[in-house]
Symmetry: C2
Subunit: 369 residues, 2 copies
Amino acid sequence: MGFYLMLLVEQVDPFSLVADELSLVTNRLRSMVVAKVPKLASAAEYFFKIGVEGKRFRPTVLLLMATALDVPIPTSAPQVEVDSLSSDLRTRQQSIAEITEMIHVASLLHDDVLDDADTRRGIGSLNFVMGPKIAVLAGDFLLSRACVALASLKNTEVVSLLATVVEHLVTGETMQMSTSSDERCSIEYYMQKTYYKTVSLISNSCKSIALLAGHTAEVSKLAFDYGKNLGLAFQLIDDVLDFTGTSATLGKGSLSDIRHATSLALSTHFCCGFHSMGIVTAPILYAMEEFPQLCTLVDRGFDDPVNVEIALDYLGKSRGIQRTRELASKHSSLGSAAIDSFPESSDEEVQRSRRALVELTHRVITRTK
Amino acid sequence: MGFYLMLLVEQVDPFSLVADELSLVTNRLRSMVVAKVPKLASAAEYFFKIGVEGKRFRPTVLLLMATALDVPIPTSAPQVEVDSLSSDLRTRQQSIAEITEMIHVASLLHDDVLDDADTRRGIGSLNFVMGPKIAVLAGDFLLSRACVALASLKNTEVVSLLATVVEHLVTGETMQMSTSSDERCSIEYYMQKTYYKTVSLISNSCKSIALLAGHTAEVSKLAFDYGKNLGLAFQLIDDVLDFTGTSATLGKGSLSDIRHATSLALSTHFCCGFHSMGIVTAPILYAMEEFPQLCTLVDRGFDDPVNVEIALDYLGKSRGIQRTRELASKHSSLGSAAIDSFPESSDEEVQRSRRALVELTHRVITRTK
């Protein structure tokens, strides 16, 4: 359920718009995770290696956001040395992108230890390759590097925001371990968990980009809203795709479609232990509102494949997939609306970045993998 | 090898000097680690429970340091509202004590996961009682709470210092896992590791106390030096006590004394896996300078009790224990000298706190457990 986007070839491509700056950020990231101790260095660098660094979805959004909010800010102080200040600002905003990625990778490292995961991003998880000790330490190391980098931005509101994100990541991960039936069968609990675990990071880092630029609380809130709604839409579609796979009939699939596409997903995601609860995402929780007996099934767990089959039967008969897609669309629109409410600007670059951000809200809900 | 001090009943007791303020700090600590998620809350609170909270050695030092540096600071700005400002300052210095303790406990939680430790502070380790997943998460949670509290101090130099400490804790822990023979047989490498893993936290938090009060870089460095030397002396004596136990003939013990006292320590500390390297501390490393063949023994590891016996033979014949105590005394004196170099003050409370800090440097090297 990684937070990445497929690269569709289109006229206005959000990713190519920031490609150059992104490689700068990526290179700096690699140099930031160099540790004095060789073993720690190779561990921390593990996920920043060329080829396995992921789609860099978050840094892309953040760099686009920086340009999208590059508008004159009403201020009482005289503007001196605008050029040097704004280039300094850009560097600090790039730092937010780097810090965000470090926090993200740190949480992946610890999650893999918690889940005893074998693979990550198509290669062996660090936990699997170098052992859980090094994975815990490398995660701690990245968090401390992120914290040091944060402190150097000398903006305590931003430090506080991103420190809170780390707390949210932990809270979300712990909520996921819940053993209460009421909680596991509640869509509200699930959405709250999703916010903490997947969405808080992107929404608060978007807000940080605005705060560093000196925007008002109102504008910073719009940046937050964009990140939050984009993130929620992304995760909800992720949940759908876990059931429907790459089928072109997403959300319209017959039961057999769903069951067929799911068999692979199940074998990789839902097979044993904690992971078996991975099936209880938005589609199942919506299905539960039509078929309350699903809750009893969830309580029994999904170690037994028969229970999985029964759950999928209910899902196929229900509007679970459809309602999940509808909710994702709603969040996609809200994200797009946040951008439309940004302070007016006739600057072409600003407008192009805003269009790219809106484009991302569309891609997130139309993607098929 | 916990960092705590025995309470000796004496006329000027450093601990009773700050006892009231310490319970205030302890209570606030308990309220700070309350999490939204019950499981996480009980995990994070685990080590802040009454009775198992340790000797609160670090908070004691930090509160004494705050008073010891409560002297007028030369400033060009007019002093307004001194009372409200200084009470605010004291609260922020208390926060440093709380943050330091949170970072310390977080590192204990992760260390116990790394070491598969069963017990901690006489009770089951969190790792053992609630499982490694919760221990990793609770550590992360405490770190994020510490980071949020740090950010609220709105002093980016202090944020940076304490974030670097987290990095040092990780670096120290990783150095301890080293598999290079050269490194494992080097006293310099060992002292560097000890600084990162045990001493960086107390020295940098002492420095933070001075920085918050607005002291010069010079005075802040003295505060750092005090913490560093106290911490090093403490750890070196810890190393000695691991071999000599509670014997009254510390450092003068015959071989049989050492071997006898060590048998218990060995069974708890040095028996298997990573822990078996716990025997290679300063005394053994000094002994190695007289008996280089000890290095070969270290390379072989101490899973075999016979190797432990041979190592203890060499240690008994060597000046290892004595030289370790001498080094501890040197650091104890340096710590005391740092206090003597503090800006002059005739304030009685200030002087009493300074005497208490000096008293701690003595207790650290004369303690027998």
